[in-house]
């Protein structure tokens, strides 16, 4: 189709090379951290710096597995992510569907009020006082309920529902289906790719939650993995030393192992959903 001139080919090669470099810059840090997390104690102590370990060991991971507080915080994060994402999807879909029905009385007012929360927020202090007033602080629900619906995702899912053909709903009504039945039996099955995308976005937010955790959870035994991770990797290099009986391997290995440990579970879902999420992001640009 296109010209195979020397200039064009050189351009293509240069462009491809730069893209490979960009992709490398974004991926190599992860690879480096995985490599160092498998290093041996002797090697880390002997060299001030290394590109890659020559001997492999599982010391870092063995240490993590023998540290109850780390395992516990991972379970906290898994639990909050699973329950939180289910709550997110339930609340968002239930609210988005009625708002997608143009004949609903009061729909415009509710949409206006939802949109307003996207451009004006009360800020963290009044929200904190409400959450505290509801006695949610220091419970796992504080990580789930205050972020139950993202107004942005709600509007996008509403727009998506609006694009579905109206005829389906009407024929279901003639068959005697009520509105909840229409949502469950007709609208949702047609929307699974979009729902999967938003499940991923919500789940990533829960997995990575940090601000809500430092706001609402004081009790260190209830910390999700991200807060503990900050404690270990960023605040102090010896954060774990008094938490386990076993002699700790050099902190660098632990740091790297903890990063891997807290990142791999969420990245594991990414390849399965990748083909959907570009579409999910773009649903946002459809006006309704």
């Amino acid at each position: 189709m296109h010209e195979r001139s020397l200039g064009n080919r050189l351009f293509g090669i240069a462009n491809g090379t730069v893209l490979i470099l960009v992709a490398a810059v974004m991926i190599i840090p992860f690879i480096y951290i995985v490599l160092i997390s498998f290093a041996t104690e002797q090697e880390v102590l002997a060299k001030s710096f290394m590109l890659f370990p020559t001997k492999f060991s599982l010391a870092g991971y063995r240490y993590i597995l023998s540290t109850p507080i780390l395992l516990h915080s991972l379970w906290v994060t898994i639990g909050v992510t699973v329950v939180g994402t289910l709550v997110n999807l339930l609340m968002t879909v239930l609210m988005a569907y009625p708002l997608a029905r143009k004949e609903l009385y009061g729909r415009r007012l509710i949409l206006l009020l939802v949109t307003f929360t996207m451009v004006f927020s009360a800020g963290i202090v009044p929200t904190f006082l409400i959450v505290k007033g509801l006695h949610l602080t220091n419970t796992y629900w504080a990580l789930i309920i205050p972020s139950a619906i993202s107004a942005f995702n709600l509007i996008i899912i509403k727009n998506f529902f609006q694009q579905l053909p109206d005829g389906l709903e009407e024929s279901a009504k003639i068959d005697g289906c009520n509105d909840l039945g229409i949502l469950l039996r007709i609208v949702l099955p047609l929307s699974m790719p979009a729902i999967a995308t938003f499940a991923l976005f919500y789940a990533v937010n829960h997995w990575n939650t940090f601000l809500n955790a430092i706001l609402y959870i004081n009790d260190s035994r209830k910390w999700p993995i991200q807060v503990l991770l900050r404690q270990i990797v960023i605040l102090t290099e010896k954060g774990l030393s008094d938490m386990s009986e076993a002699p700790p391997p050099p902190s660098k290995i632990i740091n790297m192992a903890v990063i891997v440990f807290s990142t791999v579970p969420i990245l594991a879902f990414y390849p399965f959903l990748q083909k959907h999420f570009a579409k999910g992001v773009l649903l946002g640009s459809v006006k309704g």
Partner: protein, 319 residues
């Protein structure tokens, strides 16, 4: 069947009193209202109740007195705010970081999307896309953790590279000059790949015949880029740029909070982190609410102006 028969009845009689019609509609859509209920409660409780709590900014909130009993102080906190040198430091830091972000981060996804658009091999393009989206899914704690690993003074890859080239090691993590470049670099690393999605979508809508026609007319790749590709994403760039101006003051709490330490605080503290420190950790609830309210109002005005500008440019507004 009942419902279908009742529908024309709803639409037809214009003589029916309005209240009656509304009542019928509410009854007909009872399931829909039931579904709306939890969501509405959520927005009232966690979005609108806190707005009412903004009144704290005009009170002297004492936890033992509670919200209602605390004394009204009018604009005292705002008076203190505008006379406090801390306010000007916060404003300066926030604005400078926002400018860095617009100058260095904003163009990055556009350039990367244009480069990806030039790739002819679909498989190669897809592999690159898969890899560059990954950092978006990682938490700020991990990104800052990775930055610490690479930029630390002892054994960090970057400083070792500088040392082996004969340079002097730089303490990136606790230096005031390097705070802003580090923040911007981290944002570029994390979000550039993800940011390409919207531009690539705009580019995929370009009619391939345009390129073909341009080639027949003898246009090289650069001229095709200039006359076909760039005009195709111009409106997307305009909208995103204006919207970015609308959220100018949003510097992102988590990243900055994680990068802050006692040494770089004077260049790094921004509105969001200050509200957290003063309000939640030091308990100055009323004063920090006032700081937050100031930021929210300025942000609101900026967004409304930005949206108006988008419409002026002949595009559909976002709100």
């Amino acid at each position: 069947m009942n419902q279908v028969e009742s529908e024309p009845a709803l639409a037809a009689p214009a003589c029916m009193p309005k209240r009656h019609r509304v009542g019928l509609r509410l009854l007909r859509d009872k399931w829909l209202y039931l579904m709306l209920f939890p969501g509405v409660i959520y927005f009232v409780l966690f979005k609108y109740a806190p707005m009412w709590g903004l009144l704290l900014a005009f009170k002297n909130y004492q936890p033992y007195l509670g919200f209602f009993e605390s004394e009204w102080v009018g604009l005292k906190h705002f008076d203190r705010l505008f006379h406090d040198p801390v306010f000007w430091m916060l404003l300066r830091n926030t604005l400078i970081l926002a400018c860095y972000n617009i100058l260095f981060f904003f163009p990055a996804p556009i350039v990367l999307a244009l480069m990806l658009n030039e790739v002819r091999r679909e498989a190669f393009k897809r592999v690159v896309q898969t890899l560059i989206y990954v950092p978006h899914f990682v938490s700020w704690v991990v990104v800052v953790g990775i930055a610490y690993t690479f930029f630390t003074l002892d054994g960090g890859l970057v400083n070792e590279a500088i040392a082996s080239l004969g340079g002097e090691k730089i303490n990136f993590l606790i230096s005031t000059e390097w705070f802003r470049p580090m923040i911007t670099l981290e944002v570029i690393w994390k979000e550039t790949g993800w940011g390409t999605i919207i531009f690539l979508a705009a580019l995929s809508g370009v009619d391939p015949q345009l390129y073909e026609a341009a080639r027949i007319d003898g246009a090289g790749r650069m001229r095709q880029l200039w006359h076909i590709t760039l005009p195709a994403i111009r409106s997307t760039i305009t909208i995103l740029f204006i919207l970015r101006l609308g959220t100018f003051l949003d510097t992102g709490f988590e990243q900055i909070f994680l990068m802050l330490n006692s040494i770089n605080r004077e260049v790094g503290e921004v509105f969001d982190t200050y509200v957290y420190t003063a309000g939640i950790t030091q308990g100055q609830f009323s004063f920090s609410t006032a700081v937050g309210l100031f930021k929210s109002i300025v942000g609101f005005v900026l967004i409304i102006t930005a949206n108006w500008l988008v419409k002026r440019f002949g595009e559909e507004g976002v709100y």
